[in-house]
Amino acid sequence: MDEKVLEVKNLCTSFFTEGGEVKAVDDVSFCAYAGKTLGIVGESGCGKSVTSLSIMRLIPEPPGRIRSGQVLYQGRDLLTLGTSEMRAIRGNEISMIFQEPMTSLNPVFTIGYQVSEAIRLHQGLSWKDAYSRSVEMFELVGIPSPSKRVHEYPHQLSGGMRQRVMIAMALSCDPKVLIADEPTTALDVTIQAQILDLLRDLQQKVGMALVLITHDLGVVAEVCDEVVVMYAGRVVEQGGVREIFKNPKMPYTRGLLRSTPTLATDSIGHIRRDRLETIPGIVPNLLSLPEGCRFQERCSHVLDVCKGVEPELREVGEEAPRAHLIRCARDI
């Protein structure tokens, strides 16, 4: 049985705007296990990033507020912690890397200084020890000639190298959970492959739980063990990665999978170039959600019941070790 390190229970996060309350994350629950990777996928505005920021308690208040729910880490609810207690968790226990490495690094300090600063603050080491620890970390994440590189500034590094620095910083205090919010979106494919490979290697060495937020289903298929699909603030489908890709039940997940070109070949070896299937329309405005299922306006299988009450997340099949859940009224 896998060790459960982080559990998110019924998380609701809202933003209060002039137009009214925007429920960016609405009743989201999932678990992260040691040594496993959980993928959260969805399109822009589905609430995947707000979920990760809520776990880290980084939602700007106001306008945002975590309305209800629990984030359980080692038996403690992070949402009830005070500012200084939470600061001790961030970085030490749960760490995060962001999409754009250039904006997350300070341009006027050397990368060695920035990584050492994090180590000093969290682990109380001296500058000298912190520096040698950062050199070790740089070596671990595959930055060439690390003892020279610590003296360089972010602008002297390429995008891929900057992301490695961010990973080094995030892992410098041996966190149990790493949240990676679109870590490879700003990178080229060959560099993306390097970074994903690195994350997988480090996970095996360190045994952390990885929560990977992405919009790229290809990335999910390659690195995740479990997937949570989000749509308009809700979890709409959840399950083991093989099950979700082989047997997607919710029409939205199916649509997403079919709307990407696959490079699959047909029986005589030609690459299939069928017309792409599309999901008609656009994501609904979170300020004026339809009654009932949030996907109904774009769904090709819509029934009358979909327009009445919103379906609950229910179990449709059990593939060990994770249950397959969907939020859909249809019997599939």
Binding site: T190, A193, Q194, G218, R242, K246, S259, P261, I271
Partner: protein
């Protein structure tokens, strides 16, 4: 080049070079240059979609812009329907732009927020003196909206009232307003969500079929390029390293860079485990490209002479097959 029209080639690029000078020192003397596009030649056939892929900084967007003379080429020639457009004066160039248009990556930045859809789509009509009566002009704009899958009411709206996908439809409608034959599409779907990407790709394919358009489709997403393109060219540090039909390139990549690039695409199928070629290091700086073959420092197959001699883009000598050009000493 008189026979070009008969051979079905709409655009020919010959030895195109775009250098950007670097100024430095006290008197802003030129101290060096970046070759964004170096010695590129290819042909685009009428009615096809020519895909151009490569990583950021490889010069693919510069090449697209240079072809339209939105940036001036440093040397080389561009023939559009047999006419050398590198020597055209601004007046003739503007007339030519009726036939060649561009769609940009970011539909947020490429629409003027203070113009209505009517004036955005009407502007190219005014510039080129098409549709002189107001009635005729409005009719034309409405039919453009229909064609691009936008509601007719959109005509009096402003860009901020639309989503990303709808804005990209407006950009496509603007490019189509002057009835061009050739459109450069510079990462037209990169900024869009997956479900919207598919809508735009389908729209572009429909328009191509109905209007007989020719596309130069620039993107870094290899899956989308493969899906839409007839032929594909792969660029690395300003040079084309491989050029072949889309099927051939994806199934039988010959250049080590193309092989690595294709193996790096994440495939949405968790049961398919592939042999990955992970390239070491980063793309070198175009300021100081490595000697010999530009790819040799990262190439798994590189040998001594790769560091000295630069390979040329050459036809693979297999006449039974379709044209497949590769620039590598060891293919």
């Amino acid at each position: 080049m008189t026979t070009v029209a008969d051979s079905g080639i709409i655009l020919s690029v010959r030895n195109l070079v775009k250098r950007y000078p670097i100024q430095g020192g006290l008197l802003s003397k030129e101290v060096g240059s970046v070759r964004a596009v170096s010695d590129v030649s290819f042909d685009i056939k009428k009615g096809e979609t020519f895909g151009l892929v490569g990583e950021s900084g490889c010069g693919k967007s510069t090449l697209g812009r240079t072809i339209l003379r939105l940036t001036e080429p440093s040397s080389g020639q561009i023939f559009f329907k047999g006419q050398d457009i590198t020597t055209l004066n601004p007046h003739d160039l503007r007339k030519l732009r009726r036939q060649m248009q561009i769609i940009f990556q970011d539909p947020y930045a490429s629409l003027n927020p203070r113009m209505t859809v009517e004036s955005i789509l009407g502007e190219p009509l005014t510039i080129h003196g098409i549709c002189n009566s107001k009635q005729e002009r409005r009719e034309r704009i409405l039919s453009l909206l229909d064609r691009c899958g936008l509601r007719r009411e959109s005509i009096s709206r402003y860009p901020h009232e639309f989503s990303g996908g709808q804005r990209q439809r407006i950009c496509i409608a603007r490019a189509l307003a002057v009835e061009p034959d050739f459109i450069v599409c510079d990462e037209p779907v990169s900024a869009l969500d997956v479900s919207i990407q598919a809508q735009i790709v389908n729209l572009m394919q429909d328009l191509q079929r109905d209007l007989g358009l020719t596309y130069l489709f620039i993107a870094h997403d290899l899956k989308v390029v493969q899906h839409i393109s007839t032929r594909v060219a792969v660029m690395y540090l300003g040079k084309i390293v491989e050029l072949a039909s889309s099927d051939d390139l994806y199934q039988n990549p010959k250049h080590p860079y193309t092989q690595a690039l294709l193996s790096a695409i994440p495939i949405p199928d968790p049961t398919r485990k592939r042999e990955r070629i992970i390239l070491k290091g980063d793309v070198p700086s175009p300021l100081q490209p490595p000697p010999g073959c530009y790819f040799h420092p990262r190439c798994p197959r590189s040998k001594e002479d790769c560091k000295i001699a630069s390979p040329r883009l050459e036809q693979q000598s297999d006449p039974s097959r379709e044209s497949h050009e590769v620039s590598c000493h060891y293919v």
